[in-house]
């Protein structure tokens, strides 16, 4: 059974003449432990699809299930989307989006404390993960003084610390040079594999697609292959 399923997802922005159809009956299903890439030209609807699956911006119509739970059906959100994301999803942004006033380790621990884990334990687990990522020496550093690659690796750690069932990453390497981009992508795949999460990574970059189990291609809001 797939860890994340989206069926007949459609998203329409605006009304009348100004209407934009960003998703048209898009279907995706990713198994636990599977790592897929999502590719397509600019404006094809990749970000919109990730937002729809994570209910950050729910689809106009369609069906979304995370594991056994149907979280969206018809045109209705059936769950507390914040809780869904903090408990069962990890999200990685192109612009890293670390909280600037939290240190690296606090950025990671935050996710655990949001899930009700004590600060002490959260910090311990976050520190441990940072050490594993060879970022232990940057634990007490604020994001502003980290390099882009370091920031994104901290962001990856933040996304995986809560053992998510689903990891969604929107162009996580777009702001990085090839070498650092590859390092981040490797880390993402490795952690995804270890944790048995379903990972969907949006990428523009053909050089990055080796190592993915599958590739979804999107054009004009449709998934054009399976």
């Amino acid at each position: 059974m797939p860890a994340v399923v989206g069926e007949k997802l459609s998203k329409i922005f605006g009304q009348g003449d100004g209407q934009v159809v960003a998703l048209k009956d898009a279907d995706v299903a990713v198994e636990a432990g599977e790592i897929v890439a999502l590719m397509g030209p600019s404006g094809s609807g990749k970000t919109t699809l990730l937002r729809a699956l994570s209910l950050i911006d729910p689809p106009t119509t369609g069906y979304v299930a995370i594991g056994n739970d149907v979280v969206f059906e018809g045109a209705r959100v059936l769950t507390d989307d914040r809780q869904l994301r903090r408990k069962r999803m990890g999200i990685i942004f192109q612009a890293y989006n670390l909280i600037p006033f939290l240190t690296s380790v606090e950025n990671i621990a935050l996710v655990l404390t949001l899930n009700g884990i004590s600060r002490r334990e959260a910090m311990a687990r976050a520190n441990k993960l940072l050490s594993r990522l060879e970022l232990g020496h940057r634990a007490e550093t604020y994001p502003a003084t980290l390099s882009g690659g370091e920031q994104q690796r901290v962001a990856v750690a933040r996304a995986v610390i809560n053992d998510p069932a689903v990891i969604l990453a929107d162009e996580p390497t777009a702001a990085l040079d090839t070498e650092r981009g590859k390092a981040v992508m490797d880390l993402l795949r490795q952690l995804g594999r270890v944790q048995g999460a379903a990972v969907i990574v949006v990428t523009h970059d053909e050089r990055m697609i080796e190592g993915f189990d599958r590739v979804y291609h999107m054009t004009d809001g449709r998934i054009t292959n399976h």
Binding site: T47, D57, F93, Q94, A95, F101, T113, L114, Y142
Partner: protein, 398 residues
């Protein structure tokens, strides 16, 4: 993990500076409150100082502070005979200018009969007036030391004692002298005025054949009446009811008896009313300004975090977490600002030229108001934060 503490810690310098600025503003609010209270206290100090129960004044006047009241000083003998009256003694007030060295100091002169009602409640340094003449007890406020000699008109006064905190409604120091001295100063004219008066009198006498043989110089002292006072202070027997005694006295024509409460009321309502309202209005304006500024600061602080708040929403932080971040920061700012303000005002209030009375009650009320403003302002910020679209954190090139 407390986000407010982290954020404040991260931007500590700026936070401190903002709180300090707010503290300056709040110190101004506190100063205004203190000036307001100080003004009322000053005005009442002179009424309260003699510890009288009743003030007998000229009929149809509001007594010695609000209007001119002139009554014969020996009226006190009649007043003393009224049942319920324990003591009665005349008192005279007038504003005079003292010259001390190169300075000239405006004082409120109070003439009373030493050993009787009207004396200052306490002398902080030196001694009270003895029966002797040309002595003076000043308030410290005047800045004139004991032993100073102050020429006034034809005589010279010696400062024998100092009081603390007894001033007129305009903040002038009081100057206690004997009633006789005060009457002389108030009702006896200066040399030049006396000469003019005599010349006029002489001219009048000359015009009237029947009086032509009289000399103005011998007549003048008889015509001059110095036996006037501005009020009779009355202290009642413990069992006497002030209003009842006052009613009884008012049955005589020509006089009015005011209770000390009435007198205080007159002072607070008539004499300093406009100044009071002025300051009150200014306090309200300052508080409104503070409200707007606090709201603006908190709104700006929220706007600066738009992206972070969007990110928090995406990683699943509940609204309570986001709301409390803003509320806690607002409160921290308000409290720190209040603290700065309180420390500042406590450091400087003594150096104001007039009394600034910082009352604990006022401070508590202001504290409550500041907390309320912060809560209100954070509601504005929280509304803004909750309406932030999480997708702003997750776009193509965000």
């Amino acid at each position: 993990m407390n986000l407010a503490i982290r954020d404040v810690k991260y931007r500590f310098g700026r936070f401190l500076l903002t709180a300090f600025g707010l503290g300056l503003l709040l110190a101004t609010v506190m100063a205004m409150g203190g000036i307001y209270r100080g003004m009322v206290e000053d005005a009442l100090s002179i009424v309260r100082a003699p510890g009288a129960d009743l003030w007998v004044v000229q009929k149809d006047t509001n007594g010695p502070f609000a209007e001119t009241s002139r009554i014969p000083d020996d009226l006190y003998r009649v007043v003393r005979a009224v049942p319920g009256v324990r003591e009665a003694s005349p008192i005279a007030f007038q504003s005079v200018q003292l010259d001390y060295g190169s300075r000239s100091v405006r004082v409120q002169m109070i003439g009373y009969r030493p050993g009787n009602l009207g004396a200052p409640p306490a002398v902080a340094a030196g001694r009270p007036l003895a029966a002797s003449r040309y002595e003076m007890v000043l308030d410290r406020k005047a800045g004139i030391p004991i032993g100073a000699r102050l020429p006034m008109g034809r005589v010279t006064f010696t400062v024998v004692g100092l009081t603390e905190g007894i001033v007129s409604s305009s903040g002038d120091s009081t100057a206690y002298v004997s009633l006789q001295d005060a009457q002389e100063l108030q009702f006896l004219k200066a040399n030049e005025a006396v000469r003019n008066e005599r010349a006029r009198l002489q001219a009048g006498l000359g015009a009237n054949p029947a009086l032509a043989s009289l000399s103005a110089a011998s007549l003048a002292p008889i015509l001059q009446n110095t036996n006037l006072a501005n009020a009779i202070l009355v202290r009642l027997e413990p069992w006497a009811e002030p209003n009842a005694v006052a009613k009884r006295m008012e049955r005589w024509n020509h006089y009015r008896a005011m209770t000390t409460a009435e007198q205080e009321d007159v002072l607070a309502k008539n004499v300093i009313e406009r100044a009071r309202q002025q300051i009150l209005l200014f306090r309200i304006i300052l508080l409104s300004v503070s409200t707007v500024i606090i709201a603006l600061i908190i709104y700006t602080m929220t706007m600066e975090k738009t992206r972070d708040i969007a990110t928090l929403k995406i990683i699943g932080a509940p609204n309570v977490k986001i709301g409390s971040l803003i509320l806690q920061e607002a409160l921290a700012l308000g409290l720190l600002g209040y603290g700065f303000g309180a420390v500042l005002i406590n450091l400087v209030y003594e150096y104001f030229p007039r009394r600034v009375a910082i009352l604990a009650f006022d401070q508590y009320v202001l504290f409550g108001i500041v907390v309320a403003i912060c809560v209100l302002a954070s509601i504005v910020g929280i509304r803004r934060a909750l309406s932030i679209d999480p997708t702003t954190a997750m776009g193509g090139g965000a």
